[in-house]
């Protein structure tokens, strides 16, 4: 069936809840309202208030309560309304969600999936366009997943919910309704910790994820007109990272670039560049370039084009690298 990413997410949540009555959704406005992006639309009606819980406006309690539910064997899928509002829950995520398995040597695990919209795209107020995935990738025990299409969203969300590890599932708001894609009705999983080569090319590897995938594709098409063949890797799981796929590609192409929305300093681009340096240094024909958000507060919508990498900025870096 043809559907948008947000519809694919909604369908997956419904199917997973039908399959497994341990799955509980909780968050702000997720019930009667169906979520501010409608990702949980209809679930309250289908599964009732005990399984789709409109909580008080309290992020730490949403995640804290989700942890407590796992103690009694449930598998909650909490929603944080926007990534910019996940910070009140940081302590619960970093100090407990990520660590309980280790702290108790495996007695208590936290198989929850925290869904949250992230990144630019809704032209809203400050705090609604954050892309702070690297903060979570530095925390051992967390898995961070980002889909870039409706098809991927369905398979990756199902795999996240079924995972025994806690997953931060970041949904690019810009892609929620950007395209419709044929998505199978039957449930399926896409493997976590596995990147995908979404475009093959022999000259240069671009590593990206989420809303930067369409940007990279546009740039790749333009570059192809100039005779440069770009390979695009969609990371899909940001951590633990599929480094093998990146390294194998760079060894073929000899050039690498990372494109992300997050600020440059200590962004995942740094981690990827370091990995390539460690494992493919002698294959490189030039430095690993990063095309990223700047190290400034995300501007309000009027100026956000200055901040987010677009195809032109990617192309400029492609030219620099090809001429290096």
């Amino acid at each position: 069936m043809n559907m948008t990413m947000v519809q694919a997410i909604n369908r997956t949540l419904a199917q997973e809840m039908e399959r497994d009555d341990r799955i509980i959704i909780l968050g702000e406005d997720v019930g009667r309202d169906g979520g501010v992006f409608r990702a949980t639309d209809g679930l309250f009606e289908a599964f009732g208030p005990e399984r789709v819980i409109d909580t008080p406006l309290a992020e730490s309690a949403i995640i804290g309560a989700s942890i407590g539910m796992t103690a009694l064997g449930l598998r909650p899928v909490p929603e944080i309304q926007f990534m910019g509002f996940i910070y009140p829950a940081f302590n619960q995520i970093i100090s407990h969600v990520a660590r309980l398995r280790n702290r108790t040597r495996g007695r208590f695990t936290v198989p929850l999936t925290i869904r949250t919209p992230y990144g630019a795209g809704v032209k809203a107020l400050e705090h609604h366009s954050e892309s702070t995935e690297a903060l979570f990738c530095q925390v051992p025990g967390l898995t961070v997943v980002v889909p870039s299409s409706p098809y991927d969203a369905k398979g990756l969300l199902a795999a996240s919910i079924r995972s025994e590890d806690p997953v931060i599932f970041l949904e690019p708001t810009k892609l929620y309704r950007a395209e419709k894609q044929d998505v199978p009705e039957d449930p399926y999983e896409l493997p976590l910790r596995r990147a995908a080569v979404v475009r093959e090319g022999k000259d240069l590897t671009v590593v990206a994820w989420g809303a930067m995938i369409p940007v990279a594709r546009k740039a790749a098409e333009a570059a192809a007109a100039d005779g440069v063949e770009i390979e695009i890797i969609d990371l899909r799981t940001l951590c633990p990272m599929d480094r093998d796929t990146i390294v194998a590609s760079v060894k073929r192409t000899g050039r690498a670039m990372v494109v992300h929305e997050a600020p440059k300093t200590c962004g995942l681009g740094a981690e990827i560049a370091a990995t390539i340096g460690e494992r493919a240094l002698l294959s490189l024909n030039g430095p690993v370039l990063r095309v990223t958000g700047h190290d400034i507060t995300v501007p309000l919508p009027k100026s956000e084009d200055h901040y987010y990498p677009g195809p032109e900025r990617v192309l400029r870096a492609v030219r620099q690298l090809m001429e290096y």
């Binding site: 309560a65 103690a71 009694l72 398995r101 108790t104």
Partner: protein, 359 residues
């Protein structure tokens, strides 16, 4: 009974006075063996704690949070819990652990610095100690929601200090519990200090118990050095939770007789006179006087109990110290359900390093 003691009117539940006499009409009517068992737990708790402090001074223990003075709170609460109930503890809960059956050797093992001591036996519904202050409170509310969803007739207890009531998680947790009327008991050990900061600097409210009113459920302040008062209030609150009557906040008014931890020197912020004043109200002493009044205790029984406790403690320490240290594999194995290749490579590299260093 809880409702009869309104914290907003400055009322505090006390059953045993400092001479060990029980107030008629409030006595929870525990049997003689139950009373004796409570006292035995309190003494064991104190013995375990004293040994821990000694081990710390000898360098056989890491930083340790002393438990002195909290025995009535802990044993009174735990003895009111029943099988199936859950505990979301904080870091100063020794008597709860011992009463609920946490293996003593595991307790020592953990404080000696090994995570394996927190691998609670599967039969025990005790979540691991929460060190970020207050963070266990919303977790306990989620467990309460889960208990209701699973139709389990149980109560979920969270314990915390007076300092924790200033944390956002206290508010978020109690507020959510009130909204959903979860089967929770929030047990605040008001020991007058959060490290050095006195209770009056945590809140301008006259009591902590009264905060429950704002969340729409009952709160009660009890004498935390009076095990009968703690037990009676806890029993009622736990029953209410199990029977769908919603949460309760219990404030146990007590005193931290020791330093905050072995890294603290409480002489910097409180007087010896104050501490001595509270020693008079020692919770062990009070129950012992009560037992003696009832003809249930004497010097000979006391001596036997002390010896038995010491023996148990020595055995547990020996057992904990005999356990092998964590392996390098243990340190890596529990980060994810399945070790990612990167992590496996880090582990291999570290083992290679150790091999080279040994050569």
């Amino acid at each position: 009974m809880i409702e009869r003691f309104d914290p907003l009117k400055g009322e505090r539940l006390q059953i045993l006075d400092e001479k060990g006499s029980a107030r008629a009409g409030l006595d929870p009517g525990l049997s003689d063996p139950e009373l004796r068992a409570m006292y035995e737990r309190m003494v064991l708790t104190r013995t375990v704690d004293a040994k821990a402090l000694k081990l710390q001074r000898q360098g056989r223990f890491g930083t340790y949070a002393s438990n002195l003075g909290h025995e009535a709170c802990q044993v009174g609460l735990a003895s009111a819990m029943t099988k199936g109930d859950w505990l979301f503890p904080y870091f100063r809960d020794l008597g709860l652990y011992l009463t609920l059956g946490y293996p003593l050797a595991d307790h020592y093992h953990f404080w000696m610095g090994n995570e394996a001591g927190l691998r609670t036996p599967d039969s025990l519904n005790i979540y691991p100690v929460a060190i970020p202050v207050g963070s266990q409170i919303p977790q306990s509310v989620g467990a309460g929601l889960a208990a209701r969803y699973r139709k389990l007739p149980i109560a979920v207890v969270a314990t915390f200090g007076d300092g924790a009531t200033s944390e956002g998680d206290f508010h978020e947790g109690l507020n959510m519990a009130g909204v959903f009327r979860t089967p929770n008991v929030f047990f605040c050990v008001n020991n007058q200090f959060a490290i050095s900061v006195p209770r009056a600097k945590q809140t301008a409210a006259a009591t902590i118990a009264q905060k429950a009113a704002a969340y729409g459920f009952p709160g009660v302040q009890v004498d935390g050095n009076d095990i009968l008062a703690v037990h009676a209030a806890a029993r009622e609150a736990l029953d209410n939770a199990r029977n769908g009557k919603g949460p309760t906040l219990i404030e146990a008014y007590t005193y931290r007789m020791g330093d905050h931890t072995t890294s603290d020197d409480s002489g910097r912020y409180r007087t010896k006179e104050e501490v001595r004043e509270w020693e008079r109200r020692d919770p062990l002493l009070r129950l012992r006087l009560h037992l003696e009044k009832k003809g249930l205790w004497d010097a000979k029984l006391e001596k036997e109990l002390q010896d038995r406790s010491t023996e148990l403690v020595e055995k547990a320490v020996a057992e904990a110290e005999a356990r092998p240290p964590a392996t390098v594999e243990d340190l890596f194995a529990y980060t994810y359900a399945e070790m990612p290749p990167d992590l496996a490579a880090q582990l291999e590299d570290h083992k290679a390093f150790l091999g080279e260093a040994a050569r």
